[in-house]
């Protein structure tokens, strides 16, 4: 019998792992288990073009339906892995089925952090993570409606931008003193605050939501001691790694399933990749990344390791966000102590912020500035020192810095 692989999770990382396992020559049986009703699909468009209604559902799917059969992968959907018996190398599914594995890949992803305040369970309170979430939100996401968005991160702000475009009355409540505080520099936060306000979105900073009130459904939001009328609420306050299966089975977990630079867990038969993991990053620190890049690259490395071709995962992380006509592209991981260098004028709506650490570029945030992003990413990977004056000088094309 050839050895078999079971993949728990059917998201971006799962699809990538399947593709990479086959590309690397693994020819044993593969079974992929997904909790949702759908085969692997792209999540990024959910809060952007798909919510706007400009992107039909069929386009979300990462592969053609026929792919899984052709790739020799049994896809089990609408099914949750509820138990992991490491001694027996067996996974138990919610329908009672037991799957034996020789090698197991956990790509269980993350789930939304839920709001805990009074009224959080009222009808009209939405989250955005899955196709089903967006389809539910769509029924109320209508021109003229008042939407209260809890959380000024990527999800909240992308929904705010789509809402403003669709003619909703949008208010964003952010508990921190600036937008996207966890993800971008204060310079970017200030720029995006003014862009959203210009589009008619009300931004309430330093304002946590204390309660949601209404008779059976959302009627108002209480935030910062004030009452705001609202017809619906969208909560975007981050995600939590889905690590319960691993934790219950005794695998190391620490706000994420702990893996090494080859996506290996402490069990020689089990790997993990994507949003659900905590791994040692290229800078030597343990971290958790929630992004497409990590799903793809870590899954590739897991697949390599599973077929015995270990390769150290040290790709530069990258992220993007579309809000209005602004394309934000970020590479690298910034720290508050980085020296910031501005290239271009934010007023031109085309600029970049470089983060320098030990005289080398550690991160770049580029708004409508693809060269700055692409070359910045390369500079981060190279780790080469570069003068801040050079980076800031618009008369020197980025290409010359590569």
């Amino acid at each position: 019998m050839p050895e078999n692989i079971v993949i728990i999770g059917a998201g971006q990382a799962g699809a990538q792992a399947l593709q990479s396992l086959r590309a690397e020559g693994f020819d044993g049986p593969i079974t992929m288990v997904g909790e949702e009703a759908y085969p692997p699909y792209q999540r990024p468009p959910l809060s952007k073009a798909y919510l706007l209604g400009k992107f039909e559902r069929a386009r979300l799917f990462l592969k053609a339906d026929a792919y899984y059969a052709e790739a020799g992968c049994e896809l089990i959907l609408n099914s949750l892995a509820v138990g992991l018996d490491r001694a027996q190398c067996r996974v138990e599914l919610s329908d009672g089925r037991k799957l034996a594995y020789d090698k197991l890949l956990l790509v269980t992803g993350a789930r939304v952090r839920r709001l805990k305040c009074p009224g959080a369970e009222l009808a009209g309170v939405h989250y955005l993570k899955t196709i089903a979430d967006v389809d539910g939100l769509q029924t109320e996401f209508l021109a003229g409606k008042r939407i209260a968005i809890v959380g000024g991160g990527y999800i909240g702000l992308e929904v705010a931008a789509v809402g403003a475009k669709r003619g909703l009355d949008v208010t964003v409540f952010e508990a921190m003193d600036r937008l996207m505080a966890r993800a971008v520099s204060p310079e970017l936060s200030a720029f995006y605050t003014s862009e959203h306000r210009r589009a008619g979105v009300k931004i309430k900073l330093g304002t946590g939501v204390e309660a949601i009130e209404g008779e059976g459904k959302v009627e108002r939001v209480i935030a910062g001691g004030q009452s705001y009328g609202a017809d619906l609420v969208l909560v975007g306050i981050g995600v939590i790694p889905c690590q319960e299966l691993a934790a219950k089975a005794g695998l190391g977990c620490d706000d994420g399933i702990v893996v090494d630079q080859h996506a290996r867990t402490g069990d020689p038969h089990i790997w993990a990749a994507g949003d659900c993991t905590r791994h040692v990053g290229r800078e030597g620190h343990a971290l958790r990344l929630e992004c497409v890049q990590n799903a793809i690259d870590q899954a590739k490395h897991a697949a390599l390791s599973m077929v015995g071709k270990d390769k150290i995962y040290r790709e530069v992380p990258w992220f993007w966000s579309d809000q209005y006509d602004l394309k934000l592209q970020i590479a690298g991981l910034a720290r508050p102590t980085d020296r910031l260098v501005l290239r271009g004028d934010p007023k031109s709506r085309k600029f970049a912020v470089f983060h320098l650490r030990d005289a080398a570029v550690a991160a770049v945030e580029a708004v409508n500035a693809a060269p700055e992003y692409m070359i910045g990413k390369k500079l981060i990977g190279d780790g080469r020192k570069i003068a801040p004056e050079t980076l800031a000088d618009l008369s020197i094309p980025m290409k010359q810095m590569a």
């Binding site: 592969k63 993007w320 394309k327 693809a370 060269p371 290409k399």
Partner: protein
Amino acid sequence: MSVFSQPAKYKVIYIEAGGQSHTVEVAEGWSLMEGAVKHLIPGIDADCGGACACATCQVYVAPGWEAKLPPISEMEATMLDFAPDVRPNSRLSCQLRMRAELDGIVLNLPKAQHV
């Protein structure tokens, strides 16, 4: 869904760097990147799924077809600058939408999408 609501489909010929040719149908309005990915054509990575954020869906447009394509946006041009082995007929296939005039378009694929 009635057959009348199905979008029209047109032919695209993708040719891998090794010469292997794939003729597939792509629905009107879909990108030529999506056409490749959904039909399992090897040679298009499209890591970002079509957001023009990764430059991993480069194609070489066969002679005669370039004029029928929309002009290259500044974003596409700058992203393309950093793709491997860029040629004058290079495009990012995520930025090309299928329509009737492109029926039969021939796209050659690069050896690799990552530098």
